[in-house]
Amino acid sequence: MRRWLNGLAGAVAGLLAWQALIALGDLPPFILPGPIRVAQALWANVLLIAGHAVVTLAEILTGLVLGAILGGLSAILLAASPLARSALRPMLVLSQAIPVFALAPLLTLWLGYGFWSKVAMALLIIYFPVTSAFFDALVRTPADWVGLARVMGARPAAVLLHLRIPAALPGLASGLRLAAVYAPIGAVIGEWVGAAQGLGYLMLLANGRARIDLMFAALIVLVLITLSLHYLVDAVCGSLLRRMST
């Protein structure tokens, strides 16, 4: 309840800051329209925006789930095998060092302009934070625990499964919290590169038509999706970790 009130207060503060920005920064509406104009545009185009939002949400969720699975497995692989580590780690950093934008034509060439190229984009953008946060935690297992497990006759795989992975779950949770925020960006970038639907498409289209209020209405919806996702992942990870550690 208090959290919700806080959230509400934050939202109101955000809106006020936005309005103040416009008033003080003397911003014309074609650069940044005010909250009321955007609310009007949102209301007038609610069906249109909702349709595009559903598409983007599906891309985000699929990318998030696949990225979390892939990132988690990669981190485990990296932690499990020094060979994999020396071979794959530069790849991992590389996968992030190459701006997704540069990869976009490749992805669209392979995956076409449909659903999967956006999913791939969202996946690509969250793969690194998930993998790197989880991996960092996986290699930080206290040596004493590992020693004990070895004395008990555990094979490396068992140490990983029963000890290092559970001990590293808070790290995975940090990664997922970041991922929840980045996945929407990935999907939208994917839509910017080429799409016929989705919030990213709608934003570019509105921008090209100088309908900045519509663009910001779509943006607001995107921001709301991102915030919900972030708090959802936060709550789920939090309750799982709490159940694990008390």
């Binding site: 625990w145 004990l148 004395v151 008990m152 559970p166």
Partner: protein, 262 residues
């Protein structure tokens, strides 16, 4: 086998410390040399012999290297280097034959008490013997706390969970690092009795600071000081001895004096 070789073999056996349970398969432990961490010598040249099947108590001032020796024997001293030699009396590798109860309890915070106690089986991919685990928990007085998380336990309760976990490991060699240090006298006596019974016939090396404990449990008592390792002759009676038996008390007093002299 020629007569000569048989004699030679017999002699090798002779040179080894005798077992407390002749005919028992628990191996003796031998470690000699200098123990270093990095370039610092932690334990000067020693020759440690732990007799097979015996309960050996190791005492010594704080920081002299007792835990380090245990880590070496258990094979977890990755940061420790031994300039010398280490082997089991039967010359077979020790891996898989040792159980270790370290000085800190090393409970996994996300597992409840029961799951911590059966950790070994799970780590080896075996089916955990839940019935025995509950029995052992009952014997260490924690039957009611089987579902509790380590974070909600008192210091002594945590130590008893670690003890129960070690007792669940069915290993011929058992290394215990101050296993009863956080327990009150009553619980401590009960845990000593329990451990002595469960571990009878195994090669046990127990680090302790309590002369009364060494007097109750030790079939061998070793004293490690900066100047080296020495044996203190324990009472001839077989442990666990009554804590107020005259020879226990006399030995305890003698040991205490030795400890205070260090």
């Amino acid at each position: 086998m020629t007569a000569w070789s048989r004699r030679a073999f017999a002699r090798t056996r002779d040179e080894e410390p005798g077992s407390c349970f002749p005919g028992q398969p628990a191996p003796s432990l031998l470690l000699s040399g200098r123990v270093k961490i990095g370039s610092a010598t932690i334990v000067g040249p020693v020759a440690l012999e732990v007799r097979g099947g015996c309960w050996t108590c190791l005492l010594g001032p704080s920081g002299v290297g007792k835990s380090t020796l245990l880590a070496l024997l258990a094979g977890v001293g990755d940061h420790v280097s031994l300039e010398g030699d280490q082997r089991a009396g039967d010359d077979a590798p020790l891996a898989g034959r040792v159980a270790l109860m370290a000085q800190s309890d090393l409970l996994l915070p996300w597992l409840n008490v029961l799951d911590n106690v059966t950790l070994g089986a799970r780590l080896r991919g075996e089916r955990a013997d839940m019935m025995r685990a509950r029995q052992v928990l009952d014997r260490v007085g924690l039957a009611d706390l089987a579902k509790a998380r380590p974070a909600t336990l008192s210091g002594g309760q945590r130590q008893r969970v670690a003890l129960a976990r070690t007792l669940m490991e069915d290993r011929p060699v058992v290394l215990l690092d101050e296993p009863f240090s956080a327990l009150d006298a009553g619980t401590r006596a009960r845990m000593q009795d329990l451990a002595a019974k469960v571990l009878a016939g195994r090669t046990v090396l127990q680090v302790t600071h309590d002369p009364a404990e060494a007097a109750r449990l030790g079939q061998e008592v070793l004293l490690l000081t900066r100047s080296g390792l020495s044996r203190v002759e324990p009472p001839a009676t077989s442990p666990p001895r009554a804590f107020d038996a005259p020879d226990t008390l006399v030995f305890q007093g003698r040991l205490l004096r030795r400890l205070l002299e260090v």
